[in-house]
Structure formats: structure tokens, C-alpha cells
């Protein structure tokens, strides 16, 4: 495995850029450029950092921001899990049955075009205002892109791997897990990336549109900060959202890619 060369000059440029933006922000914040609303639009960096700590320490209405994060993550992970399992299940059935394949293909194409938020009213009618709605939207966000990738990936599996698998005695489910899934890993990983991105956005949108009092999440927290004019806390929450995105991208998705398709020389 080759060691990746770090692009030092590129890194320095990025760091300088970030510092410059922060300085500019601070200058604008202290200059009161926007009159009375200046403090709201541009709280100082010190205020935001203080708010960051406060979010976790005091939180809102007696519950720490941790509680909100955990609630969101719980629903997100559950939705991702259900969505991914269903995507594999239906895509797997599609290799077995041609009829199922063409029907599922149609279903995926249609529902992939439907933004989850647009489904919200329908889902609320069905589920009521419960955490189930959020889970439903996360499932909806992840299942279609994931299925699309898995279906495409299965179709692209070279015939020679399938025949090798048959030859060594694989069939049915064992052929799926022994050949189709590993051979389609590069597609599956890209499906995971798209699915995760959509699920994360979908979750936050849903939480902001309607807050669940019994299961308050990150989206609701932002809304509560807004209504209480706690703009520094709002920005601090955005930072947390970005951090979560970075952790998932570089702490989970990138390592998965590195341990599979990159190591196997199967990157698309």
C-alpha cells in the first residue's frame, strides 16, 4: 500500500483561508455593520464558542444538546438500517426474478424523484406526529438511491464471477453474499454515500418542519434557538451538524472505501 503524499502547500493555503474568514467574521462582528441586528447575524467567535459549550452544558429547557443529538442519531441510524436492509433485500430478489426486477426498477425510478419532505403530510396522516415519521423519511431518503446503486452494481457483476461461484457450489443466497455483493461493492459504497447524504438532509428538514416534543432532535433545537433569538447557539449547532457530517464522511465512509474497493483495486 502506497503512502499518500500530503499536499503541504495546499494545506497551508486552506489553513490561511480559514483563518482569514474567521478574522473577517470577527471584524464584521465587532464593527456592528448591521446596526441593531448585527449581534444576531454576526455573533462574535467568542460568543459562538461560548454557545457551543453552553449547548452541551445547559442546553434548552433542561435537556442538554446531547439529548437532541442522540435522539436524531437514534432515528437516523434506525432509518438507515431499515433502508439499507430493504434495498439489499429487494435488489437481491431482483436478481432472482425478472418480473420483480422490472417492477422494482420502475418503483425505484419513480420514488427516487420524490423529495421526502413532499411526502411529509401523507406520512403524518398515516403515522401521526411520531418519531416513526422521521424514520420513514430517512428510509425513503436512503432506500431509492441505495437500491439504484445495488441494482446497477448487481447487473454489472461480470458473468465470469457468477459462473466461478456456481462452479464452486454457490447458489441462491450464498451466491448473493459470496459473489454479487462483494463484486458490486464499489456501487454499494457510492450508494451508501448518496444515501447517507440524502438521509442526513432529510432528517434535518423533517425535524425543522415539525418538532417532536417527545423525541426532540437537532432540527428542532435550531428552531428553538431561532425563536429564542439565541443566534450564537444556532451557529454553534450548525458547527455540530458539520462536525457530524465530517465524522461520518471521513470516520466511516472513507475507511469503508479504503478497506474494500481501494484495497481490492476495484474502484470505479
Amino acid at each position: 500500500m502506497k503512502k499518500q503524499k500530503v499536499d503541504v502547500s495546499g494545506l497551508i493555503v486552506k489553513i490561511i483561508f480559514v483563518i482569514a474568514v474567521l478574522i473577517l467574521w470577527e471584524v464584521v462582528a465587532r464593527a456592528n455593520l448591521f446596526g441593531s441586528r448585527s449581534r444576531l447575524i454576526f455573533p462574535t467567535i467568542g460568543d459562538v464558542l461560548q454557545a457551543f459549550v453552553n449547548n452541551f452544558k445547559t442546553g434548552y429547557a433542561g435537556s442538554s444538546f446531547w439529548v437532541y443529538i442522540m435522539n436524531s442519531m437514534k432515528l437516523l441510524v434506525l432509518g438507515l438500517f431499515i433502508g439499507i436492509v430493504l434495498a439489499f433485500l429487494f435488489s437481491g430478489l431482483s436478481i432472482v426474478s425478472k418480473t420483480f426486477h422490472s417492477i422494482y426498477n420502475l418503483v425505484v425510478s419513480v420514488f427516487d424523484l420524490l423529495p421526502g419532505v413532499a411526502l411529509l403530510p401523507v406520512v403524518i396522516v398515516i403515522c401521526g406526529v411520531t418519531p416513526g415519521v422521521i424514520v420513514f423519511l430517512v428510509v425513503h431518503a436512503v432506500i431509492w438511491p441505495m437500491s439504484r446503486s445495488v441494482l446497477d452494481g448487481f447487473l454489472a457483476v461480470p458473468k465470469i464471477y457468477v459462473e466461478s461461484g456456481l462452479n464452486m457450489g454457490l447458489s441462491g443466497f450464498s451466491l448473493l453474499t459470496g459473489v454479487y455483493i462483494p463484486a458490486a461493492t464499489s456501487y454499494i459504497v457510492s450508494g451508501l454515500k448518496v444515501g447517507w447524504a440524502r438521509a442526513w438532509r432529510g432528517l434535518l428538514s423533517a425535524e425543522m418542519i415539525f418538532g417532536l416534543a417527545n423525541c426532540p432532535g437537532i432540527g428542532l433545537y435550531i428552531n428553538q434557538m431561532r425563536t429564542n433569538m439565541k443566534n450564537a447557539e444556532m451557529y454553534a449547532t450548525l458547527i455540530v451538524i458539520i462536525i457530524i457530517g465530517v465524522v461520518v464522511q471521513y470516520g466511516i465512509l472513507a475507511p469503508i472505501e479504503k478497506c474494500t474497493v481501494k484495497r481490492w483495486g476495484m474502484s470505479k
Binding site: 465470469i160 466461478s164 462452479n167 464452486m168 457450489g169 462483494p182 484495497r263 483495486g265
Partner: protein, 253 residues
Amino acid sequence: MENREIILEINHLTKVFQDEPDVNAEPILEDLNLQLHRKEFLSILGPSGCGKTTMLRCIAGFESYEGEILVGGVSTTKPGTDRIMVFQDFNQIFPWQTVEKNIQYPLKLQGIKDKDQLKAISDEYLKKVNLDGTQKKYPHQLSGGMKQRVAIAKALAQKPKIILMDEPFAALDAMTRNKLQAELLNISRQEDCTFIFITHNIQEAIVLGDRIIVMSKKGKIKIDKQNTLARPITPASPGYGDMWTLFHDAIEE
């Protein structure tokens, strides 16, 4: 050879690719009959499109067919580990498994669970194909010739009755090809295994085969000849030239 048991018996094999149901397509193979003895190494020559690959795929169980194919006296229509196929394509071993896992995986499927035993088998067969030391490598780190060696080791390790090889060396450079021929010849002498080896290369067919078949259109067997030349066979061996010409003319016609 004649007194050895018959391992493969093909009776009245006919294969039609029925792409469209109403059109009566021409058969690709018509009433093909063939018997193969245990431990025999059969080379098959023949012009492109005469049905060699199709015949091999019928034996492997990848194609439906009319007629009868008996392996060890038992009629077979589905793929099985008693007949292992080695393809021409370098990318037939699984890229997601290391070299040794590629060899061990089918063995695990056959029920060998013990790690040390698996390791011992994969090491043994990697040695046989001169690939000791590549155990932990992934296929994309190997050359084409090395990948074919792994495929052969993987096939042998499963201890099949018959190994079916469809021009496995055709895409290799001449030097690697000669090396692999010598290795395969050596291995085939040691293993209790029967080989069917399709090739376009007459020299290869003669060097490797105990018996050489020339096939023509619709899988008609034009020549079926025991290879009586003294081994090791080189183009300088007495009788080589005559044999070469015989096969060459039969293929050209």
C-alpha cells in the same frame, strides 16, 4: 490408457442456442460423442466458432443441452465441484479476496473448517504453481500469468475429477506461455485429475496432450489421435513436424 476407467462420457450431445422461440436455429453441436479416461490430458484444437467453448460449457453445466453427459458414470446437467472451469479471462479469481483466500474459499464451502488445514492446502498448491510468497497479495497486484496460475491452483485444490480449461494461456506473452505450459504439464503428471484443454495453438496442444482432438463445424470430431511422441516434446522431437502438419491442415480445411 485404455484400461483406465472412463471418467467422462458424452453421448449424442446436441446444443442449439434458441434465441428466438419460433425460429429453428442451427445446432452449434450435433450428435457429439466422446469418452475420456481417468488422468487423460485431452487437447482440443479447432477453428474459431466450431463449438469448443460451447462443449466445455455444457460439460461444466453452464448450458442446457440435449443428449447425455456422464461424469464418473453419473449424469450431470448442473455445475459442480467435480468439474472445475479455468477460463481464458485473467479476471476470473475474485479481486476481493487475497490469493490464498481465493484458493481457500471453495474449500471452506466444501466443509473444510480448520484454519491450519486450509493454510496448508493453499500453500501446497501455490508452491505447485510457483507462486509461494504471494499468499497475502490481492489479484490486482499480480500479472496476468500469475492470475492464471492462481486460477489453476484454485482449480486443483478443489480436487475435481476434471479440470476444464478454455484457452487459459491464449492471452499470455510467448515466454510466460511456455513457462506455464511446462508447469501445467508437470502438475498434470502428478495430480490424479483429468484435463480438457482447448487451445488455438498446435504446439501447445501437442506439448500438453496425451490425446489430441481436432474439431470442425457443429462439433464434429475430425481427428482423434493418441499422442505417441516421446516426452518432453519440443518442435525438434521426431515426428513433431508430421503431427503439426496433420493438425494444421485439418484445422485449415
